[in-house]
Symmetry: C2
Subunit: 392 residues, 2 copies
Amino acid sequence: MIYFDNAATSWPKPPEVLAAMEHCLREVGANPGRAGHKLALAANRLVDETRKELAALFNIRDPDRIVFGLNATEALNLAIKGLLKPGQHVVTSSMEHNSVTRPLHVLQGRGVEVTKVPCDHTGAIRVEDVAAAIRPDTVAIIMTHASNVTGTIMPVAAIGRLAREKGLRFIVDAAQTAGVLDIDVEAMHIDLLAFPGHKSLFGPPGTGGLYVAEGLELTPLKEGGTGSHSDVPGQPEVLPERYESGTLNTVGLAGLGAGVKFIRREGMEKIRRHEQDLTRQFLEGLKKIEGIRVYGPQDAARRAPVVSFAVKNRPAGDIGTILDQKYNIACRAGLHCAPDAHRTLGTFEQKLVRFSFSYFNRPDEVDYALRCLLEIVEKDIPAPEGSSGCGC
Amino acid sequence: MIYFDNAATSWPKPPEVLAAMEHCLREVGANPGRAGHKLALAANRLVDETRKELAALFNIRDPDRIVFGLNATEALNLAIKGLLKPGQHVVTSSMEHNSVTRPLHVLQGRGVEVTKVPCDHTGAIRVEDVAAAIRPDTVAIIMTHASNVTGTIMPVAAIGRLAREKGLRFIVDAAQTAGVLDIDVEAMHIDLLAFPGHKSLFGPPGTGGLYVAEGLELTPLKEGGTGSHSDVPGQPEVLPERYESGTLNTVGLAGLGAGVKFIRREGMEKIRRHEQDLTRQFLEGLKKIEGIRVYGPQDAARRAPVVSFAVKNRPAGDIGTILDQKYNIACRAGLHCAPDAHRTLGTFEQKLVRFSFSYFNRPDEVDYALRCLLEIVEKDIPAPEGSSGCGC
């Protein structure tokens, strides 16, 4: 199986990720922050080490302002619902994932107003359009760092500056960029940074987190046992406990720490270059296949390592199924949980086939995929019967 | 290290738990329910298998009515905040964990009324007191199945009958009983059952779930990508997706499935008998040590395998530290994230030392702990300097 579905979850992981998880489960095992005994303290240290690794990666001064949860979706829910109040206005883009649009949809029902700034046919947004959408009652800008459909990189630094100038909070969804692109919460004026642990940070599923800038108070999404300040009736004020009720995914976070260490050791630049090379190779190969239409920027440097395309007028699900069943290639066909993005691209009906690359993919895999796609187009290979192939 | 902190998280896990996690991370890896490719389908099957195992364990007809999250705290937040509306009244006990009391505390600020039925000095509740607390505006009863401080087993079946008779919803916190005691959601009339994966179900941390009875609609705690119905602007109606936004902890859930299989293969009765024997042995041993006061029922059969006690007038934290540092015993001293329970017992100031047993503990470990405690009492062993020992 050749795996080109890294934008959903990266696979394989560096070997040290499993080793760290195994160590944690076998040798540590205990619940961090809940007792004074040696195992609990060791679990605490593991989790704190992961916080420190991430803080170094994102230039976060205080690691305790990173709070962990199940995934980036939880982090975005905490950021969006924890921040916005009825009567407030927020600006976002037309390329967002459902993890942003759905919480906003719920808040719209509770009196929050939302402006979705339209992106162009490559998924790109203009900073002046974002500026023009700001109103006197605007409190925040929420934006993905890169589209999960087209990979289009948003001008996050410029929008961060704009947010700072206008006194707005800036929430960034780094689902496709954490571990891929440089993220500096200070330089980019990011107030709330949501990231998954299991994508380009190479951690296991079940990990994700939110950076909460100093001075920013959110309504917690969940309350419960925090392992400290147990005597107060509500949530404690102190971070990370305030937003981390219940037992953390210690084992997964140990794995995530190993994943981030791997990235910092290999070097973000080297990883980025490799993924960009694969993206460029794929984009150039697709250009040569008549009948394939690529969406998003043509320049690989303007993308996260994600490429979506349509094959003639064929439903994306059929192509996904053929790639899986005939050629043993795992990719993702459908709406990619981002119907707004597909509406922006005009592909809401046909949907798209998405390839997404990781540091562990190789150029020969991309070559093989290109040959398969050429064959599908030239021979008009039909989809196996009874299969839908469409995920989300 | 002898580990008696299983009520926080069980350790060690059966070997097949790690094996299942390793298999999932190495061989499957993909995101379930998000694509049609073979790996994603395999991930989906793993998660579904865990749902089926749990459904069989709890006598749940439709496995899709089990929704997974980070932990039992998340499940309780979804149950409590998803169900209760301002102006409604709810009945609970005075022995609840902060994972119940804190969400209720927040809801009280939003117009939900809460009656905490007082338990006696053993942590026991009388069904007639619960009945007497029901008012015309009561919509639900929320109760732990067994106290995490005293292990006291609540009369869940009787309270379930009462709830059914009165037309109330019944929410059960099975944090200390899932995998320990028989739970039958049909026979016990449980509408919402919250359980952790990482305690007596032997899964890894980062797993937990909620059973949602048929016909019951909750407001989701989180919205986002659900891998299906991506075109609808809000959350889909269908379970489990409605309450499972974002990427699940596939690897952890594979481990949880192996944990539940282990329990079903060994047999709940055998596990229960072993844990009860250890509890009885410990209770009887403690009785013989002058100066130790045990809280909760004297009869091991009336407890989950949890025993909390005070040593003379000494702060619990000191005893916890001595046990850890001098004797290499991991237990838990403090408030156990359950201040209400400690108020009920009259131990809010002194706090308690808690031992909690698992199937993997042995009688000789209990004997050793009893000898250590005797020595601490007889020699009045002081706590090491500079240590607090108190967790939560």
